[in-house]
């Protein structure tokens, strides 16, 4: 059951995504390949599923509501899958696969599947524990989707996270981790399809997929609750369809994918206008002059994208005071937000700027960026392991690889614009995943040229470059997931990992197992409440969020504990600090104590 339920949950979610995705089939251009359709349909389905679950979830987010969405969609999906697979023999497609890249992909898939069965662990510094999985867990417990006030990041657009909630509901805590397998398969499918469209042959498309699967910087964006690969998939599909669009309905589909990207990450708000610039310059209908027909198509993209992503932004505006929450510096001057003081916003923005500094923002850093990304990837947040050597080595030659047709030019320009925007905003490696995927396509195109143009040593040197990239990437990925795999197959190792990585584990176990615990007051901002299965109140968040207006410190919430129906208080001692409460606090009885952790029962005041 430990393995079965997460698998069933993920399969149900995937088939349901095919079902909802089948609704947009009339919008798909007729000239796209079968491979394209196999990526477009489920990804559109995931986007629509996220929006639908969110819209229902802000009213009611119960198991019944989730199943009422997933089960009918899954029936539709099974039908859609049968129709799409008709006349396609998977076995014959795989039989013709080149052995080396196929084996590499298979190995990464095995690692991802095994690692996906590990329970999420870590402290509050882990994004998964701090917010990607916290939001879904709280939404399920409370039966409604709302921002968790002491954690601002749960107010981010959450197209993927609402589906993590559905996975948790059906398959338990491990199920969202296993979603990384779906994300990996989909990004590889769409990369291979885009590579074919860019002029590469099937074997080269396999190499593109193998290179992407072994890019540690890409891989980082698909496990541990990360949503960056799905975001990249939405964006690349938007570009893939946009550059071949001819009819208004195709532009509706582009708008849908842009909207899904904007409903997944705020960075979609920057990428969408950049895509629109490329569409303007490179669509078949565009004569590079402004015409009403072009304006109509671009307006269609904007309107559909804004419409599909609007629920997240409107919710934030209405409930938190700003469409983008927490607000970036420019918006912070115009919007007065709730639950987050001006100082806390300023300090968060300062921290984001520091993290996003990467290797500098000067013109020389921009010029040296390809070298920095290849040789010093760890200097960019979450970039350790990098993207291999293929992009740096071969992209300079891809310009001579084949006669550049419109699609490749547009894709190249989109990648360049996204890189420049990334360079001047936040240089966090994960945000550049769409570019890494496109870079792999152009890298393989350049490799093809090098083998032809330098026949003496070119093939051997190229093979060495590709081999080093893949082997180094595999080493980094396997070592990053080794503990997860070990924990998935050994319960004793999983337990020792929990003891080591989950702070205040004994307290969480006590609170979760004790029936008299109904609502816990968590005093310290750095306690990872993801592990708490009971209702709780955390007055101050890790970034200074104030979930109770007017309460500036955790202790200030204590006098009002009966008003909030608090039954227990959790107090902990972190490094370099003491407990928040004195030895014998009034009307509180110490009922559990372990190293650096105390739990009190609230005694009704006389």
């Amino acid at each position: 059951m430990r393995f079965l339920l997460p698998v069933i949950a993920n399969l149900l979610l995937l088939v349901a995504a095919f079902g909802l995705g089948s609704l947009i089939r009339p919008l798909i251009p007729h000239n796209v390949s079968k491979l394209d359709r196999l990526a477009i349909i489920p990804l559109a389905g995931f986007g629509l599923q996220g929006v639908l679950l969110f819209l229902l979830g802000i009213i009611r987010f119960s198991p019944t509501v989730i199943l009422a969405v997933l089960l009918p969609a899954a029936v539709l999906g099974a039908n859609c899958l049968l129709q799409e697979m008709r006349g396609t023999a998977i076995s014959s497609g795989l039989a013709g696969a080149p052995i080396v890249p196929a084996s590499v992909i298979a190995l990464v898939l095995v690692v991802t599947v095994l690692g996906g069965f590990a329970e999420p662990i870590g402290d509050i510094k882990s994004d998964a524990i701090a917010y990607h999985y916290l939001g879904p867990k709280v939404w399920l417990r409370e039966g409604v989707i709302r921002p968790v006030l002491e954690e601002t990041h749960t107010a981010f657009p959450a197209t993927v996270e609402v589906q993590y909630a559905a996975l948790m509901m059906i398959g338990g805590q491990c199920a969202p981790e296993l979603f990384s397998v779906t994300a990996l398969v989909l990004i590889l499918l769409l990369a291979a399809a885009a590579a074919r469209r860019a002029g590469l042959d099937p074997v080269e498309a396999w190499w593109v997929a193998a290179l992407i699967s072994t890019m540690p910087a890409v891989y980082r964006g698909l496990f541990g609750g990360m949503i960056d690969v799905i975001y990249a998939a939405f964006l690349i599909l938007a570009a893939r369809i946009a550059f071949d669009s001819e009819l208004p309905r195709h532009y509706v589909l582009v708008g849908l994918f842009c909207g899904f990207a904007m409903g997944t990450k705020y960075t979609g708000l920057i990428a969408t206008p950049l895509l629109i610039v490329c569409v303007f310059l490179f669509t078949p209908n565009s004569s590079r002059r402004f015409s009403w027909i072009t304006a109509k198509y671009l307006a269609t993209i904007c309107f559909v994208a804004a419409f599909i992503s609007s629920p997240w932004y409107l919710r934030n505006w209405l409930t938190l005071g700003c469409p983008i929450y927490p607000p970036p510096p420019l918006l912070a001057t115009f919007f007065h937000v709730k639950y987050f003081s001006a100082e806390a916003i300023q300090s968060l923005n300062k921290e984001m700027l520091k993290v996003g500094l990467g290797m500098g923002k000067g013109p020389l850093s921009l010029l040296l960026l390809p070298f920095h990304l290849a040789f010093h990837p760890a200097n960019f947040e979450n970039g350790a392991g990098g993207i291999g050597l293929v992009p740096l080595t071969f992209i300079p030659f891809c310009f001579r690889a084949y006669r550049w047709e419109r699609f490749a030019k547009a894709l190249g320009l989109f990648a360049i614009l996204m890189t420049i925007a990334w360079f001047y905003t936040a240089q966090e490696s994960r945000y550049l995943i769409p570019v890494y995927v496109i870079a792999a396509i152009f890298g393989v195109a350049g490799w093809k040229y090098v083998v032809r143009a330098a026949p003496r040593f070119g093939p051997a040197l190229s093979a060495l470059t590709v081999a080093i990239s893949i082997l180094y990437g595999l080493f980094m990925i396997v070592s990053a997931r080794a503990d997860n795999i070990h924990a998935a197959v050994s319960t004793s190792f999983a337990e020792s990992q929990k003891q080591e990585s989950i702070p205040f584990l004994q307290s969480f176990r006590y609170l979760n197992s004790e029936p008299s615990v109904r609502k816990v007051l968590v005093l310290d901002p750095l306690v990872p409440t993801y592990y708490l299965d009971k209702e709780y109140l955390k007055p101050i968040g890790r970034r200074g969020e104030q979930s109770l207006p007017g309460v500036d410190s955790p202790q200030e919430a204590l006098p009002d504990r009966s008003k909030w129906n608090i039954t227990h208080v959790m107090d902990v001692r972190l490094k370099d600090s003491g407990f928040q409460l004195s030895e014998h606090p009034d009307n509180l009885v110490l009922i559990f104590e372990a190293k650096d952790q105390r739990i009190y029962r609230v005694v009704p005041s006389p």
């Binding site: 290849a374 040789f375 010093h376 050597l389 740096l392 080595t393 300079p396 030659f397 090098v450 143009a453 330098a454 026949p455 003496r456 040593f457 070119g458 040197l461 190229s462 060495l464 470059t465 080093i468 180094y472």
Partner: protein, 58 residues
């Protein structure tokens, strides 16, 4: 006329002859830099080298 035409193609043909060498040099440069920066410069190898140095010093 014919000698003039010959002169004008002299430079491109030289570049054409050098081009494969330039490609190979570039790939070799990337490989060597990667080896120096990422393998020899990596923490694991540095720790190993320090260990070897300490052993030899004894």
């Amino acid at each position: 006329m014919s000698s003039q035409a010959k002169d004008s193609t002299a430079v491109p043909s030289l570049l054409q002859r050098l081009w494969p060498w330039l490609i190979e040099l570039w790939i070799a440069y990337v490989l060597v830099t990667f080896f120096v920066v990422r393998i020899i410069g990596s923490g694991m190898v540095q720790r190993f080298l320090t260990l070897v140095r300490l052993r030899l010093a004894r």
